[in-house]
C-alpha cells in the first residue's frame, strides 16, 4: 500500500475544484451555482491544510479558517442578492439574470 502523501490530497482537491468549476459554468439554478462556489472554496481549504502539514506549521490552517469566514460572508450576501432578485423577477435562473446586459 502506497503511503498517503501531500500529492494525494492535492489530487482530491483538484477533483473537487474542477467539479465546482463545472457546476459554476454549466448549471442554471443560482443556488446550485453558489453551492459549487462552496465546493471550490473547500478544495482550496484542503490544499491549504495539506500544505500546512507538509511544511509542519500552522499558517495554512489559519488561512483555511479565514477562508471559512469569507465563505460564510459570501454565502450570506449572495443568498441575500438572490432573494431580492427572486422578489423582483420570480426566477432564479442564471440565463434570465441579464439586467446589466444592454
Amino acid at each position: 500500500m502506497v503511503p498517503i502523501t501531500t500529492l494525494h490530497y492535492l489530487v482530491v482537491a483538484a477533483a473537487l475544484f474542477v467539479l465546482g468549476v463545472i457546476g459554476v459554468l454549466t448549471r442554471r439554478n443560482v443556488v446550485i451555482v453558489l453551492m459549487s462556489i462552496e465546493l471550490i472554496l473547500n478544495a482550496v481549504n484542503l490544499n491549504l491544510v495539506a500544505f500546512s502539514r507538509m511544511w509542519g506549521n500552522l499558517h495554512g490552517q489559519l488561512f483555511a479558517i479565514f477562508i471559512v469566514v469569507d465563505a460564510a460572508a459570501e454565502a450570506a450576501v449572495g443568498l441575500g442578492i438572490l432573494i431580492a432578485f427572486f422578489r423582483n423577477r420570480e426566477t432564479i435562473n442564471v440565463d434570465e439574470i441579464d439586467l446589466l446586459k444592454w
Binding site: 459554468l25 453551492m35 473547500n42 432573494i83 427572486f86 435562473n93
Partner: protein
Amino acid sequence: MAPVATPYFFYVLAGVAVISGLFVITRRNAVHSALALIVTLLAVAGLYLMLYAPFVAGVQIIVYAGGIMVLFLFVIMLVNIERSSKERRFNRIWPVGLAAACALLALFVSAFVKGKKLFPDRPITLPESSNTQQIAAMLYGEAGKMGQYTFAFEIASLLLLVAILGAVIMTKKKI
C-alpha cells in the same frame, strides 16, 4: 506508532467527497444537491482530521455543515419554484463550460506530474494535541503580546459585520 489502515480511510473519504461532489452538480432538485454538499463537507472534515488539523475539522463541521448549509436550505425553501424542477438543468453553453473545466483539469494533472519531485514523500507530523492551543496563540496572541494574525482576525470580524448588514439591507423590502 503508525495509525492502522490510514490509506483505506483516505481512499474511502476521498471517494465519498468526490462522488457526492458529482451529485451536487448533477441533481435536478436543489435540496438533493444541498444534502450531497453536506456529505462532501463532512468527508472533507474527515480528511482534515487525517491531516492532523482537528480544529479546522471542527470549524468545518460547525460553521459549514451546521451554519452555511442551513442558510442554503432556508433559501431553497424560500425561492423553490415548481418550474425549475421541470426545465433543463444545464445552460445553453454547457459544452463550452465542460471543455474549459477539462482544460483546467489537464492543467492540474500536468502541473502535478511535472512537480511531483517538489513534494517530500514523508510529511512532517504536526503536534496534534496542542493544535487548538497553537491556533489560538497565533490568532489572539499569548502572554500579553498581539498574535501574528490578531489584526487579520479583527478585519475578518469587520467583514462579517458588513456581510450581515449587506444581507439584511438587500433582503428587506423597504429600508
